[in-house]
C-alpha cells in the first residue's frame, strides 16, 4: 500500500516545453487509468447486478422484459422468492443442506490438518519430510479420478483382489459421505497451508514448553492451535467457499432427491425446469450465491492471504 499515494512532486520548478507536455500526459493517463479500472469493474458487476435487480421485480415483468426495464417501469415484488423458498422442490431445504454439508466439511479438515501439520513441523522423525512432500504432491490427483472408486468404497467397502480389507462405513446415502469426501480431498492443500504457518512459529516457544515438560499433545492444544488461527481462518474460508460452491462431489454423492441436495445441485436441476421461468431463475440464483458472497466480502482479507500463500487447489 505504500506505493499507492506517491505525489508526483519531484520537480518543483515550473515546467516548460516537452517536460510540461509529458507531465500533463502523465497526469491524464493516471485518471484515464482510474477511469478504465472503474469501467472494467462496472462491466464485471453488471451481470450479477442484473440478476439482483431481476430477483426483486414482479414475476410477470421479470418473465417478459429485460432487467434494465426496471429503471423505466419499476415494479417490486418478493413473490419470486416466496415461490422459490416455499414451493414444492424449492430451495429452502437445499439451503439447509448446504449449511449442513459445508460446516462439518470445513471444521473437520481444520482439526485433522492442523494436527498433521504440527506433527510434520515439530515432531521430527525419520521420513517426516518425505511424508509432507508426498501429501503435498497428491494435489496432482484430480478429484475426478477418485469418484468411482470412492463410491464403490462407500457401497461395498474397500476390496483388494476380492478380499474386503475395510468394511463399508455404512454412510451410503447420507450427507456424511459428502463430509468425508470433502475432508479427504481437502487434505493436501489444508496440510500444506497450515503446516507452513505452524513451521514458522518461534522455536524458542516450543523449546520453553518442552523444557517445562509439556507433552506434545498439550503443546498442540494450548500453544499451536490458538497461535495458528490466521492460517486456519485462511484455509477455513477457502474450504467454506469451495464446499459451498462445489457441484461435482454433491452431484456424485448427494443423490437426486431434493431432500439431500445442496443448493448448487438443486439449482443445476432447476435451470432445466425453471429454464422457461426467467422470473424464478433470478431469485433462485441469488439465493444460491448470497451466502458465499457475504462470507467472501466480510473475510476477503483472510481469503487473499490464503491465495497468496500459494494455493493450487486440486
Amino acid at each position: 500500500m505504500t506505493t499507492t499515494t506517491r505525489p508526483p512532486v519531484k520537480v518543483q520548478q515550473p515546467l516548460t516545453g516537452k517536460a510540461a507536455v509529458t507531465a500533463v500526459r502523465k497526469a491524464f493517463s493516471g485518471s484515464l487509468a482510474s477511469a478504465a479500472a472503474v469501467l472494467i469493474g462496472v462491466i464485471w458487476t453488471i451481470p450479477t447486478f442484473g440478476l439482483f435487480v431481476n430477483s426483486f421485480r414482479s414475476r410477470e415483468a421479470a418473465a417478459t422484459t429485460g432487467w434494465w426495464e426496471f429503471f423505466v417501469h419499476p415494479s417490486f415484488s418478493l413473490s419470486g422468492y416466496n415461490e422459490v423458498l416455499t414451493g414444492q422442490g424449492g430451495l429452502a431445504i437445499p439451503l439447509v443442506n448446504s449449511l449442513a454439508i459445508t460446516i462439518p466439511a470445513t471444521i473437520i479438515p481444520i482439526f485433522v490438518a492442523s494436527m498433521a501439520g504440527y506433527a510434520l513441523a515439530w515432531m521430527r522423525f525419520k521420513g517426516s519430510d518425505a511424508i509432507f512432500f508426498g501429501i503435498f504432491a497428491l494435489q496432482v490427483v484430480p478429484l475426478q479420478m477418485a469418484l468411482v472408486p470412492l463410491q464403490q468404497y462407500y457401497v461395498h467397502g474397500l476390496q483388494i483382489f476380492g478380499i474386503t480389507v475395510l468394511p463399508s462405513p455404512g454412510i451410503n446415502g447420507t450427507i456424511a459421505q459428502i463430509w468425508l469426501t470433502h475432508t479427504m480431498f481437502s487434505m493436501p492443500l489444508a496440510i500444506f497451508l497450515i503446516h507452513n504457518f505452524i513451521a514458522q512459529l518461534p522455536s524458542s516457544l516450543m523449546e520453553a514448553a518442552r523444557v517445562d515438560g509439556a507433552p506434545h499433545l498439550r503443546i498442540f492444544r494450548s500453544i499451536v492451535l490458538p497461535l495458528s488461527m490466521p492460517a486456519i481462518a485462511s484455509f477455513g474460508i477457502f474450504q467454506f467457499l469451495w464446499v459451498w460452491n462445489d457441484l461435482l462431489v454433491a452431484k456424485t454423492f448427494g443423490g437426486t432427491s431434493p431432500d439431500m441436495q445442496p443448493v448448487t445441485a438443486r439449482m443445476q436441476s432447476l435451470v432445466g425446469s425453471y429454464g422457461a421461468h426467467l422470473d424464478l431463475l433470478a431469485p433462485a440464483g441469488f439465493l444460491t450465491i448470497v451466502i458465499p458472497l457475504i462470507v467472501f466480502l466480510s473475510l476477503q482479507r483472510y481469503f487473499v492471504r490464503g491465495l497468496l500463500a500459494g494455493s493450487v487447489k486440486g
Binding site: 487434505m187 461435482l248 456424485t252 444460491t288
Partner: protein, 340 residues
C-alpha cells in the same frame, strides 16, 4: 436468514431442524472423540509419549489421503485398462489401452479433446490479460479497493450461480418481442437486427461459455499479480523512471520481467482449473450443441451412460495433463521460498 419471515410449513422446518441437529451432533461428536483421545493419550509418559503423539496427530490425515486419493487413483488407472461397463460388474477383463485408443479415435471424443484444448489456450490467456491489466490500472489508484472488489467478487460465486447469472446475458427472445437477454439487447441497439440464439449457435456458444470462466478467474489473476507488482522494490521502479522509462516501456522492460514467475504460476493455476471445468458446461446445456469438454464427458461416461472404463481413461488423461502443470507450480513455489 431470508427464510425467517416466510410462512414455512412445519414439515420443512422440522426437516431443517433435524438436519442441522445432525450436524451439531456430528461436529460435537468429532470434537468430543478428539478430546477423549487427547486426554487418554496425554497420560502416556516417557519413551512412548512421542510415538503415540505422532500416530494420533498424523494417523487420521494419512488414513484419509490413502483411502481418498492414493487407492482411488490406482483403482481408476486399473479401471481404465478394463472393459467395465457399470459399477460392480462381474466378468471384467483387461483390454490393454483400448479405452485410450478409443478416446483418441472416436470422432465425438476427439472433438471434446480439441474443445478442451481451446478452453485451455483461450481462458487462461484472457483471464491473465484482464487480471494483469486491472492490477496495473489500480496500482497507483486511490480507492483501488472498490474496482478491485468488483472484479474479484465473481471468485466467490459458484460456477452454477455464474451460469444462472449469465443466462440473463445470453437469453434469446425472438427479435420482434421485448428482449430479456442483455447481449441481444445491446447488439440490437447497435444495429444488429437479428441476433442468433447465442447458446445453441455453434461454435459461438463455446466461446460464450468461456467468457463466463474468464469472468470468474480474472479476479484471482488480478489479486496475485497485483501483489507481485507491489512486491517489486521501489528503488528498481524509481531508477528505471530516472532512466526515462515510463508507461508501456516501464511495464515491458521492468515490471513484466520482474513478475514473470508469478505470471506463469497464475497461468498454470488457471489452466488447471479450466482443465477440470465441468459445472459451467454441465449447467448451461449439458454438453449439447457441440460444447462438451473432457471433464463433463468423463462425468457422463462414469455416471450417466455407464461406461466406467472409458470414463476412467478420460480421468487418467486429465490427470496426465494436470501433472506437469502442478509439478511446474510446485517447483516454482519452492524456488521462490528458497530465495526468500
Amino acid at each position: 436468514m431470508a427464510t425467517a419471515y416466510l410462512p414455512m410449513d412445519s414439515s420443512t422446518a422440522g426437516q431443517a431442524a433435524t438436519t442441522l441437529l445432525g450436524v451439531i451432533e456430528a461436529v460435537g461428536g468429532f470434537i468430543a472423540i478428539l478430546a477423549i483421545v487427547f486426554f487418554v493419550a496425554g497420560r502416556a509418559t516417557g519413551r512412548l509419549q512421542k510415538p503415540i503423539a505422532v500416530v494420533i496427530c498424523l494417523g487420521p490425515a494419512l488414513f484419509l489421503v490413502t483411502l481418498g486419493l492414493i487407492i482411488p487413483a490406482i483403482t481408476t488407472i486399473n479401471n481404465s485398462l478394463m472393459n467395465q461397463q457399470f459399477l460392480g460388474q462381474l466378468n471384467t477383463k483387461y483390454i490393454g489401452f483400448k479405452n485410450y485408443a478409443y478416446a483418441f479415435t472416436d470422432p465425438y471424443t476427439q472433438q471434446t479433446i480439441v474443445r478442451t484444448v481451446l478452453w485451455l489456450l483461450i481462458v487462461p490467456t484472457l483471464a491473465v490479460f484482464v487480471g494483469l491489466l486491472m492490477a496495473l490500472l489500480v496500482d497507483r489508484m486511490k480507492y483501488a479497493s472498490i474496482p478491485k472488489t468488483m472484479v474479484f467478487l465473481p471468485t466467490a460465486i459458484s460456477f452454477v450461480g455464474a451460469s444462472v447469472i449469465w443466462a440473463y446475458v445470453y437469453n434469446y427472445v425472438t427479435p420482434s418481442q421485448p428482449q430479456t437477454g442483455l447481449l441481444s439487447e445491446v447488439v440490437m441497439k447497435l444495429g444488429w437486427s437479428n441476433p442468433p440464439n447465442w447458446l445453441i449457435t455453434v461454435p459461438l456458444n463455446t466461446f460464450l461459455e468461456m467468457v463466463i470462466m474468464i469472468w470468474i478467474q480474472a479476479g484471482f489473476a488480478m489479486v496475485i499479480l497485483g501483489a507481485a507488482l507491489k512486491g517489486i522494490p521501489d528503488e528498481i521502479i524509481e531508477s528505471a523512471r530516472l532512466d526515462g522509462a515510463s508507461g508501456v516501456r516501464l511495464f515491458r522492460t521492468v515490471q513484466i520481467p520482474m513478475i514473470r514467475t508469478t505470471l506463469v504460476v497464475v497461468m498454470t493455476t488457471v489452466m488447471i482449473t479450466t482443465l477440470k471445468v465441468f459445472d459451467i458446461v454441465f449447467t448451461i446445456n449439458n454438453g449439447n450443441f457441440n460444447t462438451d469438454v473432457l471433464a463433463r464427458q468423463m462425468y457422463a461416461d462414469m455416471f450417466v451412460t455407464s461406461q466406467v472404463s472409458r470414463g476412467s481413461a478420460l480421468a487418467v488423461i486429465l490427470f496426465l495433463a494436470v501433472t506437469p502443470l502442478v509439478y511446474y507450480n510446485i517447483r516454482q513455489l519452492r524456488r521462490e521460498r528458497e530465495i526468500r
